[in-house]
Each structure stands twice: as C-alpha cells, then as structure tokens.
Symmetry: C2
Subunit: 338 residues, 2 copies
DNA sequence: GCCCCGGCCGGGACCGGTCCCGGCCCACCA
DNA sequence: TGGTGGGCCGGGACCGGTCCCGGCCGGGGC
C-alpha cells in the first residue's frame, strides 16, 4: 500500500519546497538551473509522475476532450474516431469516449454532454449521423466548446461544424456520369434520416436538373442488402433500366453489383455504377468501383483543430472538406443504341 | 464566472452539512427519508452535479477504463472499440482512449500505459494486433488490471487475455473445404507479424495435416491488393491451381475474386474460396462469400467483463471466443475431373 | 550607506469531494 | 431513573496538485 510519490516527496528528496517542484514540472522560468537540476534528479530517482487528476481539480484544465458518437448508421464511423484520437494526442489532449447506440432521444444527448462536462472535459466533439440526435443542441448554452462532425446544421451560433461536402461529392459523381453521356441516372439513397444521405440526394438532383437529365430515386438504408433489393426493383420497373446508378454508398453498390450479376446486367457495359466512401477494397470489386472518397481521418483531425482554436478564443465556425472522385472501372459511356 | 454549485452550496440550501449531501448522493443508508428528500430537492433546485474529478482524487476511483489501440493492421479493429465502450458504459465506466499508430517500439507502450495510469484509470484494455507491441508487457508489474485483446500470449501471469479463437476459425474453414472434397487448399496469409495471421496459418496447416491433404501458402498482408497479387501468382504457378483457396481475411478474398475474374477462373466452379471476418457486405460479393465470422463487439465486451472481474479481485485469466463458419456461395465441391 | 528592485523560493489557502470519528438524541431495558 | 445502544448527522483531515502573496538576498543607483 505504498502509494506513488507526490510533489512533497520529491521536494523532501531535493531539499526544496513542493512549490519549487511544481515550478520545475511546469517549466516555470524563475528557478535557478542548479535547483532545477536537483529537483529533476529527485523526480528521476523517485519515479515521480504528476497526478493529472489533482491537477485537473485545482486548475480546472483536464487536458481531455470528450467525444460522443451517436448512431452507427454510417459505415465508416469508427474510422473518424481514430482520426480524432490521433489529432487530439498531437495537440496534447486525451480523449474520453461516450457513445450512444441505438435510438437516442434528444434528452439523451444533453445528458451525455452533461456527464462529459462532469468529467471536466475541456471541449466536446459530437460525431453524429442524423439530425434528430443533434437538434437537442439547438438552444443549449454550452459550457465548453462543442464541434459537431456531421453535415447539416443546427441553429446554435456556439456550435462548430465540420463535414465532408456530401452534396459536392454527389455532384462530382453525377457530373462524371453526365460527362460520360448518361441521361438517365438512378439514385439508390442511403437512410434518409441521415444528413449525408439527404445531402447526396440534393446534389444528385441539382446536377441532374442542371443538365436536364432524367432521374429515378429509390430509398435505401446504406446496407448492401438495400442496394441489392433496390437494384432488383430497378430491373423490374416499368420505367426501364437507367443507364447509370448512383448508389448511396459503397456497401449499397456492392448490393447492386450482386443483383445485377444475378440479372445478367453487365457493369459498366449495360449500366454504369458509382458508389460513395471509397471503402477499403472498393478498388477490388468486380468491376473496380468508381466512387467518391471521403477522408475520415482528416475529418476527425479537423474537428480537433477547430476545438483547439475555440479553446484559444476563436469563434465557432463551419468547415467543409471536399471529397474526391475516384474513377475506376464501373463507369463507362452508355451504349449508343440505348 | 459563477462556477457550478458544490456540495457546500447544496448543504446550505438544504440546511444540512456537506456530509449529509455526500451520503444522499452516494445512497448511504443512514439518512432519514425526510432529510434525504430535502437534500434531493436542493440538488434539483441548484442543478448540482457531482464533480467526478474531485471524487477521483480522494477516492482513487475514477470510474474510467483506459483503452489503448496499437497498430491498425486489423481491418475491423475500430469495431472492437465500440464494443468496449458499450460494455464499459453498461458497467458504469468511462473510456479513455490512447492509440499508438504506426510503428511502435516496446517502450512506447509502457509510456502509454503510464500516462493512462497517471490519469488514474482503474483498468486498461490493450487492443493489439501484433506481438511486438505487447512483448513490452512481459515482465512488467502492473499497477492496475490489464486485459489484452489479441490472440497469442505474453509471459505475464498478471495479464488477462481475450481473443477470438483464430486457429479454430481456420480449422472450421479448412474442414468445410475438406468436407466438400477438396484435397489441395491454398492459404493466402495475412500479415505474418500479427498473431491472427499466424494462428490462421497454424489452423490451416493442422487441419490439412490431419486430413493428409495438400497445401500451398503465399504470404500477404490482409489487404485486398495482396489477395489480388497472390491470386494471380497462384494462377501462374507451376504447381497448378488448387481447388480451394483460404484467404487471410475477407479483404484479401475480394482481391482474389478480382484476380480470378480477370483470369476467367470461376468461383466456386473452378475453385472454392473462403474468407475470414465476415465483413460488412461479404454476403453481397459475387459470389456471396463463405467466411468465418468473428464477433468484434462481443470481443470488446468480454474484455471489459474480464477487467471488471479483476477489479473485483478475480485472478487474471484467458478467454477464447469461438468464431462461426458462415457458408454462402463461394464454396462448392471440386470438379470431379480435376 | 540606504533604498529599491528583481530573481528565486516558500507558506499556505484553496479545488470539491470522501470518510473516519465522534456527538447528539431517543427508545428501550433493568 | 440511569445506562446503553443504535440511528442520524456534523467536524474536519485529507487527496495532490496550483497559484497568489510575501520574504529573502544581492546588486546597482543616488
């Protein structure tokens, strides 16, 4: 039961007061080099480590950032987390996690936020995929800087936002198809309760309208199963098969590929296909999937960066990250005879 | 600058001492119901929340578990994290994150562990994919319970382990192939510096030896690209194409599928294919992939469970989780003429 | 020679809880 | 009626840092 050494112990060892030890530990200038050396030797000898809990108590600075993950609709969501953690570490912060799986009432989120601030976190990043979860934040007075990693917006000037520009991503995908000569582009949407899915629909629609092309929209939920089902549905529809399909994400694109394989529809000869995410292995589907890449790690990093700036006194802001079109082999010009 | 109310404030409001407030908050029995009610009313009125940092300082119980993620070779690694978090929350713990990306020296890990204990975490879960990272733990005296989520072992009786039985998984896969009648089963390994890949090799070899069947092994790295490359290599090898391929994971299986498609090798007619992981969408590859499912969330949950038991005084132990074979359409009996 | 100033260091009061210890009051029993 | 025991509550000493304030001492200007 011999507990770890404290500043007092180090002070005794070095023949100084605990204050001086504190100064040395914190790099305070007014300590004679010789004294400093003596203290450092004592620290070394005793294996002293500063108790960050005590530090947090008095100084009210815990050096930790809270991260709350709400919903798990987004396939690549956990990836963002790693990005957050890496960036936070870089900036000298710890990461305290709090997820809310499943259905979450709006009250749930504020409760989670509360518990996080109870923990004395200095800032909070909310990674959410749907608006319901965050709308609880709308009127809230925030005790600490909060950044929301998500598309869409909530009426609260104190909130920062960082998002991949989903609409732009969708436009990139559709424009690519349009450039290839497609005039009828179906969109198999993701779960429409998520911001991302909706923004992609918007982008698809806008680009289509701009070009005066035709569109068909079927609602899915980001799962490969939904892509599969919807693609079958597309094949049996009276409207006839479109020449190109823009899937809500790569998972759905996989489902589409599977369904088309069953139906004998060839990609990209019969219909072109574009996904979204550039998930791992997307380049090794058959055919290699043309998709829109979003850099999730970067997303997490930006959130931390924003938070750190807010901690420094900057105002809340919103930041958009541009996604990137990755052209592979699932897209081609439509058949001339179609 | 009006800081949040403390126990003192609540005590004043309720006309009792801060001690009584503490008792109420902690559900201590010896408080008269009427007093308790008065205190609770005061708490409600003031919006009091217990400062968990102060609590942690004095009681040495922070109610948080540290999680360190080392390496990111394993494709599904982030998933484990969610499982850990969910289980931890269930058990009343917070999760503090600390990852070590990229190459990590052994010293790195102990440093990370140190910093975590500085944070007064009560227990630590180490999620690692390779033995190098953990071997630093071999001789270490642990200040808190530590559980390692990983296959393999490190000579330290104080350490708990929880793992999916990779070898069993591999045997399941190979036995399935054997049962189908295959006598030449190639294995395209994952990154051999990881425990998982090695255990799968062992299982494959053992099962093969037991049946007196033939095997070919090519070393990959868990990436789809390596699966792709190795599958091509298999096609051009003098030894001739095996009738079945056991891929290091589903990603590699995707690569194999892509390569076979290029070569005109049909799955499962010409060669059967089994993956590992049952990644999202594996059932929608073409053909739907037969694979070995590991339940990552369960893995994380078990780690927490183990840790909580150790906190309760139980000795360290190791726990294996059985994976499950998922038969789909990428496996079939070999051609009789081959 | 005196005073002021600045570099260095120490005293001690917190931060907001936890928990041991001890005191009060009252019921019950002899 | 005095003793006693138990239920309820309060005093106060921590936990291990941070940081304001104040003291010591030596050097330089007048």
């Amino acid at each position: 039961m011999n507990r770890p050494p404290g500043m007092m112990d180090v002070a005794r060892e070095a023949g100084v007061s605990h204050i001086t030890v504190s100064r040395v530990v914190n790099g305070h200038p007014s300590v004679r080099p010789e004294t400093r050396a003596r203290v450092e030797a004592a620290i070394q000898k005793l294996g002293y480590r500063r108790n960050s809990v005590a530090r947090a108590l008095k100084s009210r600075r815990s050096s930790t950032i809270g991260v709350v993950i709400v919903g798990s609709e987004l396939f690549e969501l956990p990836r963002i987390l790693l990005g957050v953690e890496t960036a936070a570490k870089q900036a000298g912060y710890w990461v305290s996690l709090a997820s809310r799986q499943g259905e979450s009432t709006t009250g749930d989120l504020v409760e989670t936020l509360q518990r996080l601030t109870d923990q004395s976190v200095e800032a909070i990043a909310v990674v959410a995929d749907n608006p319901l979860a965050v709308e609880a934040l709308s009127g809230l007075v925030l005790e600490v800087p909060v950044a929301v990693v998500m598309s869409g917006s909530v009426p609260n000037p104190g909130l920062s936002f960082v998002e991949v520009d989903q609409e732009l991503g969708a436009r990139l995908a559709v424009r690519h198809l349009l450039d290839l000569g497609h005039r009828h582009i179906a969109h198999l949407t993701g779960a429409l309760r998520t911001f991302d899915a909706r923004a992609r629909v918007d982008g698809w629609q806008a680009e289509l309208a701009g070009a005066g092309a035709r569109g068909t929209m079927l609602e899915g939920d980001f799962s490969a199963e939904s892509g599969f089902r919807l693609a079958h549905q597309l094949c049996t529809a009276r409207t006839g098969l479109p020449t190109a399909v823009f899937a809500g994400n790569d998972q759905m694109a996989m489902g589409v590929l599977a369904a088309f394989a069953e139906r004998g529809v060839k990609v990209p000869q019969d219909v072109s296909l574009v996904g979204f995410d550039d998930m791992k292995g997307a380049g090794y589907l058959v055919p290699a999937l043309t998709t829109v890449r979003q850099d999730f790690a970067h997303l997490g990093g930006s959130a931390i960066e924003l938070l750190v700036r807010m901690l420094g006194g900057d105002a809340a802001q919103r930041q958009k990250i541009a996604p990137e079109l990755v052209v592979r082999h699932s897209t081609a010009a439509p058949r001339v005879d179609s």
